[in-house]
Point group: C2
Chain length 327, copies 2
């Protein structure tokens, strides 16, 4: 029997999840729930579309709901609400607000005897897991996370929510000197500003106040305020021609010392080079959907993060097969 | 209250564990158990030494035993035996015999209501975990593990067990062309032999049959038979002068495709550059010792591997702190 997955929200991430499910033989896509009229929603694989308001009536048919809305306005209400009745996964990525989101989702999921996994994806997600492993293994050292060069969906989305913005792409670019310093084993202190620059390409509405838009971007807390950010206003044609891909990637690097006199240095490095950020993020989320299903089947409940999920839950292989083939 | 750790076996790995415990504030070293006369055993940090035969009388004083013997002859008997009475961790690294070792340890640990974690370290260990995450996230793709350049303790140890060998160092060296092929996204099939060469430096006893020793090395199953292996006989002086360090490292690389038409390629790469293989391995084991302690405190029992240990168990930080600071 396959794990029945449903998708809530049908943007880039929802489409990525739809494709990812096709690559996992132990899963099937039940359908896509959206605020849009289901009749107007053309799905990539011919998956059924439903209106989000009907979702509770499908409760018994769905094993795990994957929530593909945005962190700014969708997930803070959707995840706690839906976790009362469904096993859910989201990719909530406003790092500063994770504790608050966790608390709200944990209350709902516990009451509903469901498993909710929040903040999955690659950062938060796989990068977080790598920071944890590296810190636990090398307690005396420093770790550094770099993003890019690539388009950040969350940051592009944040710009798009600004009044007068029609479209936006934000590239995060690691500073080369900072990457080299992180790998040196000298454990330098690198400020947020020293590590990355943020470059924004924005299509504004006709007659919009460009100065105000630029100011709203560069001063936006959590997203841009701590970085050197440049904003370029371009035409919709330039956007389509030069910025249609959504690549991304990044590095988690930790250097630490061991030995009686701290005489030995070790470097742990994890990196991603992604042609499509939403498709890769979706692939991570789908693996965690499997974990949520297995964990709830074992009787676990409540809100979890990637830190609480033993690696074996992510795999379709049995524990015996995993030990035999890849341990 | 600190986690009380004891070490069984006092070679390079045992010494590494002794040092690593000093770097973890939530742990203390109870003592070192060895087959040697405790009076003759000088410990690096002044830790107490005990004879292994007395270990049962210390049962109630020890939270976790870290077993630092070899995979060839020590661990297959020690781990199942000690898991009856102690939470134990080992770094059993004969990949082909892991299922059998798991079964024996699981029976003991379950009967004794203890937690045993086998095959921790970096491979098996952190590399295994990275293979699992990468495979779960990118089901359509290939992964490649490369080791080195570095000294393999297990392989050097295997050579030292050959009759007539006084000392040995084995360097594992990845083949550059194979590394490039693995990162290309073309998912080539690379044989064991294409990926690495193995270079051995051996000090033989006077009058030993060098031809026989060389033959025993290059034909050794699991260790050398599947590789192009070169053997150099050198003097003890050359060994001391040129081969006293024990660096190591390696790469786990997975390339996979996503998208409706598999049009996007993603590369996940994990790498280690280690000045001291035993000290790094020890640092990993010590983090898993913390996990064993926490898991048993929660009522879990039986044999676990790195696949069964949720990342949060490895950290001294609370779940709240982890979510707030590194998720």
């Amino acid at each position: 029997m396959k794990i029945k997955i449903a998708i809530v929200g049908y943007g880039n991430l929802g489409k990525g999840v739809e494709c990812a499910i096709c690559q996992n033989d132990d899963m099937e896509l039940y359908g896509i729930f959206s605020r849009r009229d289901p009749k107007t929603l053309k799905t990539l694989t011919g998956a059924k579309a439903f209106h989000i308001d009907e979702i509770l009536s499908h409760k018994d048919e769905i094993d795990v709901l994957i929530l593909c809305g945005g962190s700014a306005t969708d997930l803070p209400t959707q995840t706690p609400e839906l976790a009362k009745n469904f096993n859910v996964i989201d990719s909530f990525d406003t790092h500063a607000k994770i504790p608050e989101h966790f608390a709200a989702v944990h209350a709902s999921a516990t009451a509903g005897k469901k498993v909710a996994i929040i903040s999955s994806g690659w950062d938060p997600g796989l990068f977080s897991v790598n920071r944890l492993y590296a810190q636990a293994v090398l307690p005396e050292g420093e770790d550094y996370t770099f993003w890019g060069k690539g388009v950040s969906q969350g940051h592009s989305d944040a710009i798009r929510r600004i009044d007068g913005v029609l479209d936006a792409r934000q590239y995060t670019i690691p500073v080369d000197a900072a990457l080299a310093a992180a790998r040196s084993g000298e454990n330098p202190t690198l400020s947020t500003r020293e590590k990355h620059i943020r470059e924004c390409f924005v299509v504004a509405a006709e007659g919009a106040d460009l100065k105000r838009i630029e100011n709203e971007i560069v001063t936006m807390p959590n997203y841009f305020a701590d970085y050197d950010t440049t904003v370029h206003f371009i035409t919709a044609e330039e956007m389509a021609k030069n910025h249609s891909g959504i690549p991304h990637g990044g590095f988690v690097i930790r250097c630490g010392k061991t030995g009686l006199n701290k005489e030995n240095t070790h470097v742990i490095e994890y990196s991603l080079k992604l042609d499509s950020n939403p498709e890769f993020t979706s692939s991570v989320i789908v693996a965690y959907a499997r974990a949520a299903y297995k964990m709830q089947a074992e009787g676990q409940t409540g809100c979890k993060t990637v830190f609480d999920v033993a690696p074996a839950y992510l795999s379709p292989k049995s524990p015996e097969e995993l030990r035999k083939t890849i341990l």
